[in-house]
Symmetry: C2
Subunit: 467 residues, 2 copies
């Protein structure tokens, strides 16, 4: 039991949460029954219904609400009144869901929430209606039981997360003052494992490229020309192989200059995680792994840069043998970046590295796709500490501090546009079948999430008062 | 003028050839009008008509003829009587042709021989009806003008060359005594350039492989897993790049042990060829070439082993970016081999080289496709000298001695099954559009080819008498 649980206001709020557990589930089920599939225009009316549901909900809670139209699906914005001396938190979530396809693989209909083994099965149960609603319900609990919130909360619930958040960026850019906040709270990730809640405090960035090498102006007979003409597929292998050394280090000059090292505390935290290397390999059916020397698998995936070829194509790919010296060879590949690497700097270093490697007889075209910086908030951040306390209240377990190897573009957006720290508080599980049939969400975790969120508002408010 | 031209019999024969120039062209046109497309069963009757045309022709010439049925298209076999003290020559050719597709690209119909600018345009004009018929017409000229041949000649004219010569191997194997000969004459190649007739005295061999590397049991998210799991596409590039060093040498241990060096004479002969490196690069639209250090382009293509990746495939190959760590990566690649490299030895060395390079987390499957040894007859061979003299008689130009970078499986077959030296005497040009629309053959070269062939029988016969 943390100290926060002893605070009279919070005790009252948590009691409210506990006594309205079934009512909150009923509300969740209402929202899950609306098939708000953003990718399919056949569901356009349902998208509006889902947005309207949120608008009424927020209005009924006494928040100031706006339905903000975009060229795509609307953004629902709500806020509570400012609280003098307390920080401002912004909740981000999304009311759109993935298409249910393949629909015939669902045990029960995707938009008819059904409970089995303590989980609710429905499209959007976890991603993100269930997780997002934990914050809505915690705010409602505060407002109903205590009459007001201990800090100002703003909510941005968009309808285009599953289709690329196309209009979120300009909304943030155009409303930096309105959206000004100290921290952003997002629950759209997972716990580390069942019973092991997690705060994700870092993400890797990315720099994605496509390399085209062109040799002779047509496919040649590899018998007639082989050995006398530079083969672009041979050149491609050689150039890509040159990017990584025997120790698994990327050979671009200066590549590691801006890499922030892991702190001792981070390495210790991760060593303590219930991660079983053998189990990891078994699940992937591999007899071992390789990677950057001197780092564990979690360190390599979460906090070290890497290079992966994502696709390769050249010459004859059908059955059997064809003696062709191909005119062209291409590869898609991407670096995962970590703080404080700059994608633009990596791109320049890559180009400078590859150009001298292009052999006579080959022309190179290097296409740049998206780049995003890695991001990591300091473990010592008071917001992280506040969130950890709140999660302990809600889940009765201390959360672990983890990072993610992938990028979440909206996190970069919020951080860059609003200068706010982003708290990724995941209530889901890794096997919740996001984007797959039979998506689920644990109803116990839904309840715990509401409790944790309720405690979070208290913790954040106390934090500011104490600072 | 060579001495052979002064021989009374040959003079008589060459006079016959000259005076029947148009009659021979008429015969060629008869054969070209038969659409003997071996690949398409719709032309089965025409295949029989073409074979029958040859049978009647040989019979009319007084040769012993057999139509040998196979499970595919028949082989036409003919022979003249043995000549005491003279060598035995075997002529190989084929009466089948490539499909004319795309038919609409022909300026005149593919099976209606048409003369333009001194060339006959028709499918099979050069490959191989026109070239093959030079030998038939030279034999006819000898028989008509001199009553007999100065040596025994056997002819094997098959109908499946364009579909892989499936039944030729067993025919050779089953008839080694009947087909016994000192040299095999094949006219199914090209001159080095217009006005530069050539004898091809060597071919490279091949060892073709497909390498499959399998990593994790499914495609993974390259953000979540990248750096922590061995990527099979990365591994493929690294393993293939390791096969060739900075000097363009293949790094398999022992790979060069059995490579026969070029003789000084060969290097000199090739240096003297009208080969323009700049022109070669211009035609391929490349700004240079790479290859094994210390060798010219022709040496690299004709007499040095090489490694070419023929195809590669892995991961995402569509438009745009996909952050996938692929489960699998594959490449097709082949070594070109030269005398006296053994494909089986190369295969063993390759496997031994690659196996230790397979990184943890990857399983390798190496598929062996066809292997064939390289072949080269010594430039000092009396048969080559005889052929060179004959070509000088027919073409009024001394032929150059070249090799080819590709393999011609039937050459290996004849050499291995019958132990005979193979003379590749090409009358075609590099732009004769073999296998393409508007195939052509120079009628002057047809006539010169008949004269050269007529002289060849005399030269070979003299050769034996002189030995």
């Amino acid at each position: 039991m943390t100290t926060s649980e002893q605070h009279p206001n919070l005790i009252q709020v948590l009691d409210f949460v506990d006594s309205h557990r079934q009512a909150f589930v009923d509300d969740l089920f209402q929202l899950l029954r609306i098939p708000s599939v953003s990718a399919d225009s056949a569901f356009a009316d349902d998208m509006c219904r889902a947005a309207d549901w949120l608008v009424s909900h927020f209005r009924e809670m006494g928040l100031a609400v706006e339905l903000i139209e975009t060229a795509g699906h609307p953004i629902v914005y709500a806020e509570s009144p400012p609280v003098e001396g307390a920080p401002v938190a912004l909740v981000y979530g999304h009311y759109d869901v993935q298409p249910p396809d393949p629909s015939d693989k669902w045990i029960t209909p995707p938009f008819e929430p059904t409970v089995r083994d303590g989980n609710v099965y429905a499209r959007g149960a976890c991603d993100d209606k269930g997780q997002m609603l934990t914050h809505v319900k915690s705010l409602q609990s505060w407002l109903k039981s205590s009459g007001k919130l201990p800090l100002q909360v703003k909510l941005v619930i968009e309808g285009e997360e599953e289709v690329g958040s196309e209009h979120l960026g300009s909304f943030l850019a155009d409303n930096t003052e309105k959206l000004a906040c100290d921290c952003v709270v997002i629950s759209d990730t997972s716990q580390f494992a069942p019973g092991v809640p997690a705060i994700t405090y870092g993400l890797r960035g990315i720099a994605y490229f496509e390399l085209h090498l062109t040799g002779p102006n047509r496919d040649l007979h590899s018998g007639v020309f082989g050995g006398g003409v530079t083969n672009p597929a041979n050149a491609l292998c050689k150039m890509l192989a040159a990017l990584v050394d025997e120790e698994g280090k990327i050979r671009l000059p200066g590549f590691y200059d801006d890499v922030t090292s892991l702190t001792d505390r981070e390495r210790e935290e991760w060593q303590a995680l219930p991660f079983d290397q053998q189990e990891f390999e078994n699940q992937l059916d591999v007899d071992g792994v390789t990677g950057e020397a001197g780092f564990t698998t979690l360190e390599r995936r979460w906090a070290r840069p890497s290079l992966d070829i994502n696709g390769m194509t050249s010459g004859y790919q059908g059955e059997g043998a064809k003696t062709v010296l191909p005119t062209r060879a291409s590869a898609k590949f991407s670096f995962r970046l970590v703080p404080d690497q700059d994608p633009a700097k990596v791109t320049a270093a890559l180009r400078a590295f590859l150009e001298p490697l292009v052999p006579p007889g080959i022309t190179m075209e290097l296409v740049e796709y998206h780049g995003a910086a890695g991001i990591a908030f300091p473990l010592e951040s008071p917001y992280l500490e506040a969130a950890a306390n709140a999660i302990e209240t809600g889940f009765e377990a201390r959360p672990v501090f983890m990072r993610e190897g992938g990028s979440i573009p909206i996190v970069n957006q919020f951080h860059q546009r609003l200068g706010a720290e982003v708290l990724l508080l995941g209530w889901g599980q890794n096997d919740d079948n996001l984007h797959s049939p039979n998506e689920k969400f644990s109803l116990i975790d839904f309840h715990r999430g509401v409790r944790a969120s309720a405690a979070l508002w208290h913790e954040l408010a106390s934090l500011a008062q104490g600072q």
